[in-house]
Homo-oligomer: 697 residues x 2
Amino acid sequence: MKLEKLLRPKSIAVLGANDRNGFGKSTCSNLLKSSIAGHVYFVNPKRTEVLGKTCYPSITDLPEQVDMCILILNKTLIPSALEDMAAHGCKAAVIYASGYSEVGDKASEEVLQKLCMKLDIAAMGVNCAGYINHLDGISAFGMLVENQSVKGTVAIISQSGKICLNMTQIDYMHFSYLISSGNSTCIRIEDYLEYLVEDNDTSVIGLYMEGIKDPVKFQHVLKRAALLRKPIVIMKVGRTEKGSALAASHTGSLSGSDQAFDAVMKKFGVIRVDDIEELVQMCHLFSTLKHLPSPAGISAMCLSGGETGVCADSGTLLGLEYPEFTSDTAQKLKELLPGYATVANPLDMSATLAHDGEKYALAIQTILEDPNIGMVLCGQTILPEHKPEDVINPMSDGMVLAAQMSQKPIAVMNFFNASRDDKIRRKLEDAGVGILPATGYGFKLIKYLIDFSGYSPSLHTLELAIPDTPKIRDRLALSEHDSKMELVKYNIPVPKEAVLSSLSELKVFAEEVEYPVAAKIASPDILHKSDIGGVKLNIQNKKDLMSAYMAILQNATLHNPEARIDGVLVQPMLPKGIEVIIGVNNDPQFGPMLLCGLGGIFVEIFKDVSLYPAPLSKQEALEMIQSLKGYQLLNGYRGNPEYDIDALADFMVKVAAYAAENKNSLHELDINPVFVYEKGRGVAVADALIIKTKESN
Amino acid sequence: MKLEKLLRPKSIAVLGANDRNGFGKSTCSNLLKSSIAGHVYFVNPKRTEVLGKTCYPSITDLPEQVDMCILILNKTLIPSALEDMAAHGCKAAVIYASGYSEVGDKASEEVLQKLCMKLDIAAMGVNCAGYINHLDGISAFGMLVENQSVKGTVAIISQSGKICLNMTQIDYMHFSYLISSGNSTCIRIEDYLEYLVEDNDTSVIGLYMEGIKDPVKFQHVLKRAALLRKPIVIMKVGRTEKGSALAASHTGSLSGSDQAFDAVMKKFGVIRVDDIEELVQMCHLFSTLKHLPSPAGISAMCLSGGETGVCADSGTLLGLEYPEFTSDTAQKLKELLPGYATVANPLDMSATLAHDGEKYALAIQTILEDPNIGMVLCGQTILPEHKPEDVINPMSDGMVLAAQMSQKPIAVMNFFNASRDDKIRRKLEDAGVGILPATGYGFKLIKYLIDFSGYSPSLHTLELAIPDTPKIRDRLALSEHDSKMELVKYNIPVPKEAVLSSLSELKVFAEEVEYPVAAKIASPDILHKSDIGGVKLNIQNKKDLMSAYMAILQNATLHNPEARIDGVLVQPMLPKGIEVIIGVNNDPQFGPMLLCGLGGIFVEIFKDVSLYPAPLSKQEALEMIQSLKGYQLLNGYRGNPEYDIDALADFMVKVAAYAAENKNSLHELDINPVFVYEKGRGVAVADALIIKTKESN
């Protein structure tokens, strides 16, 4: 495995080794402190020694064949160095050099990428800062690493080297790997991800990324992580990218690529966080807790009413649930708490218990035993060099004790941010008790955790319909009728309609269609159909349809004898139902995304839509519908009838399957509206527009 | 001024002085370290000395008359101690004792309150932890204060003593006062607030509170602070209080008292924050910055594309604006930045400038000189003992230099939370450069700051219509017609309608009314009016109205000869317009709140409403309308006409004035709907319901 040689080398050569301030000195110093220092070799034809260690003139002079090379070389020297490496039999490299696509020189980067492929070299970079492997104690890193002894199970992949370096300075973080991927020229984020998902020394993976290059591989890795239940936490910028949302149709305007990325994360149960602090803290929380919260209900126990109120507000506003205690739990708590305390969830337990670790542990345990509670948050701000100790000591003792006795997680909810007393922190974290940042972040982390815990890979279709690499294509909009006929071809139910061009055809159709119907002249040359008597509405029976047909054709010929006439379009006049929009937008990276929303102001003003990658299961379709605010209107709102949500979900599954099957040719689909009728009466497509792509010449 | 004696005493007696661990020892130790230690006296009949200092048997034995007493006494001993104090001529007290209303004993607390009033003693507490006055170096505080030397301009009033104590441990905070108000039995939060608003040593006031007791005083103090432009930052719990939102009508269900509190904060320009961390950080930011941002546009300058993206996303999602640079600004920046950098706002300035403090200062200054930019955020994470220093030193030099040259504020946007290098922090903050917490909090603080800066007291009606203390009252619902007549009495336009009980009345009315009209039997005894022929719709002229009148009366008499007949209600058939709901809910503390929202799902599903305290100016009414998402529908949405927003605002001002005038008798008003017509065509009340209160017997 090539990444093994890169990330866990037994021997390393530094090409261009030097002791100048910057990447040279930092890299060499870091490596001299590494566990494999005896198998680290410096190579530089212009030096005999660097930092007191012998320098070899070239890679061919080394006493052993090395697993990996770090190239501290100018851009122009990289290709020949890679050739030398290949000749020497070394298949892994870290390339710091910059000046490639990040400053506009894409050509050099492409050349380099092809060269690595040709030579079969696994190269990290370009424009990267290297990596730190805390498992083996190897910092192949371009900035001085002060603290190499923070071995843990968090792996970070970052497109920014600076962020990797900053992370090493967060004293409570414990890493397996910190990887600065740079431009991901050769080894891409999805390759590192694949390696780390399978790595038993890594329990959680954090990604700081701007984008991915290989969606197919990305999909496979995400699926694998979902099945293994290994958490991936992603911070990706671009939520508000200017100009990305200016597409023509509803679907286009509501499902820019960032929303598509979001939807993909949801499908695979990946946690997408909003900033770097959340990325760090979420990874840390996963690496600390020994259990996941289940069920989803939480409790919070605080020493004061105010802090309890903060927990109630902050948690509830994020959609977290504080279930009422069972009478059994309540009774036990009453016995533990002072008489004036009110037993409720969240719990203002007053300060009394905070002085008695064993009693406090018992209270935590009592709540954790409640069948509706999956996690307890202990409200208490841990301060730097926390004093006085008469509260924090018994409290932390109690939490440790409770953590030892329970299979459900416990975490401390802090009300201020501060550096936390290191002694207290270590005592708690060693016992698996999480230490959360102040409530604004703290409750968001708990929400992510609960969502992750509640995600079940078996309830999701863990696949995408990723289109083949797009070529430059033209777009082709189908007419309403042609769009509907395309849907019919894929067994998507559309009310029977037809373009009829002879009386005999009409006679057959007139027997089958459901009345009332509308009839319209079908001609690409007649635009204002009503003005020339080309439209008849509300036709009640076969006889009237026949005369309408004749009249329409006569009127058309009369007014525009030159027009091409395809016939007369006859379609049923649908009864009104709840108007729903079902759309598909084909994301260039992740393929067709199904969109669903209620018509009118729901979509247009409130952007109340749900987006999910095709294909999808019926369960996923139902979740999409239920996630809409407008769901209330479908579900017996204010004594209204219930509508046929089941039929709508079936319909969505079929549309998604159609979209997935046509991932390379479907540009956009807009079924607007679909009428949803009362429960048991199904749905009906009232209008549809398909835009296809076709290769241009 | 009584609070002066309490908060800035020249001499203090500790009644019940002792050296037992807890409030006794802590208070005495704190005071012995105070600047007025020579005028601190311990009183305890059972001791001759405490902590090496003489103990007097009683307050009458003291060598001087003291300004203030701290009572470390059990609840039962408080009344006699207060009497002794009064006899001694001491008018200020800190009372730690607990066991009052916080554990259900309201009676003892009322007795104590009355006693303090009778004796004219300004008492802090009960159930409080005292205060720390950093201006004079006096900690009249029940918990050991380690760090007394953090004099600054932030005043904190907190209902929780624990939060006060925790705040003293945040090393970068600088306070004028930290006040633990406890139960606010005698001196209330609004009293401290009044003192601090006028205090020249305090530049910003932070409140941690659960509620206020005297809304009239609260209002006056908020008005005074608004006019002085002194920032007040409030953290108040209770955003999601269970069961508070179950009122009957729309208005009731949408304007619970927490929303009313929110609306009051908005009117007076108070910043309401969401958690304690925000409270601390916001106060600190105000005390650090030397200028307010104006105009509202911001810029962010980062060293990497990723961090720039985080700033773009986080800021934009909160509604902050990054205006495009003027061509002049852009040109100057191009000259300062490396060739490959793209000049845009927010700005990825690359790392080059970070090594050159003077050039960096020039770049900051260039952006601050842009007429559309009010503030610059410098993206850089300051770490604990920040290393390496080759970037942070020139960057911080540059910020300091730029701050010295500009009248607009600068702040550092951090991407991780960590304790910040103290040397760097002090250097920046001394120069007035703000240091923000990680982006999740950081951008919220900037939003608060921009909102505060943009608030103009002259554009707001700085008054509330606070009702007199409510008595137990019955409710009385007026009929639709009576409700409308009530509005007419207050010059609120209502389409002409009348209950007519004679043909001569009818003849006059029939000349004046606008047709078409509807006519209905007016009788409290006839419920199903249509069923007995008691309703005629769409009456087009006088003649038809006369016959309808006769027919309706005949039908009524025929079907129900016993019924009381008030006459026939004749009202115009209004043309349909955009349906708007205007409501009033009378908050028991803050008086009538005007509610406005678009009808139907806007209010019912999306809770798209705006709430504001009466009375209100036209400007405020317009802001209420514009803050609705549904505003788009009124304002020429998708080629629709523009509607008469101006008339709607006039209408709202009148309704608010009516509500303010009737603050003691109006329980609730629901005008649902008001039809809003196209621009220039006004509004019309279609239905109204007034619920009044009347004193019960």
